[in-house]
Symmetry: C2
Subunit: 119 residues, 2 copies
């Protein structure tokens, strides 16, 4: 399973067939997972350049500056990439709820053997 991406120090994202990698944002202060989204090369470049999280919106097929309309921007504290460079982890300081439902995190429900529990 090893390849050059595992040990190298060159940023070479392994884009999928749609030109995307998985982007996972967590709260830098609490460690809570906030959301799972996607980035294309443009979103990654703009995120690095501005220090604010930008994603690729698959539904709208456009660059998505998180919080541009809602105000819930995400300041990037640290960006990490995984071994095979097909997933990126953003530790962020969120200015507001990450979720479109108004919840702080999209992961507001616990999975139990008998269903979901809010909280």
């Amino acid at each position: 399973m090893s390849d050059a991406n595992d040990a190298g120090l060159a940023l070479k994202p392994k884009w999928d067939a749609h030109g995307l990698i998985t982007a996972v944002a967590s709260d830098a202060a609490t460690g809570d997972l906030l959301m799972v989204a996607h980035m294309n090369a443009d979103a990654l470049a703009v995120t690095l350049a501005t220090g604010e999280a930008h994603y690729w919106s698959r539904s709208r097929q456009e660059l998505w500056h998180k919080g541009a309309t809602s105000g819930s921007t995400q300041r990037v504290v640290e960006l990490r990439i995984d071994c095979d460079q097909d997933a990126i982890w953003l530790k962020v300081e969120p200015a507001g709820p990450a979720c479109h439902t108004g919840e702080q995190s999209c992961f507001y429900r616990v999975v139990t053997p008998t269903g979901l529990v809010h909280g």
Copy 2:
């Protein structure tokens, strides 16, 4: 963007065209992201039934009991699902390194504007 999945308490994963959802594992003690993988319905059911993380290996096209060969199993402390139920978050107690490289986390490199930095 809202739909019945957002507010409901029924577990109804939104499987993709390959029958998968994204699965993100973090260390329950430290909050560190460990790995991003995938689950199919079987992997999710077996994870819930056993309390140990099971994924779907896309490369091997088989159910993957994490740590079955390496010993680095992951005991599930909590399982959460996101608003549209296409991503699942596992908080785990890892028995060893999550990454096939031997690193504790697959996210062992920081992305900087000039390249990757180990650490």
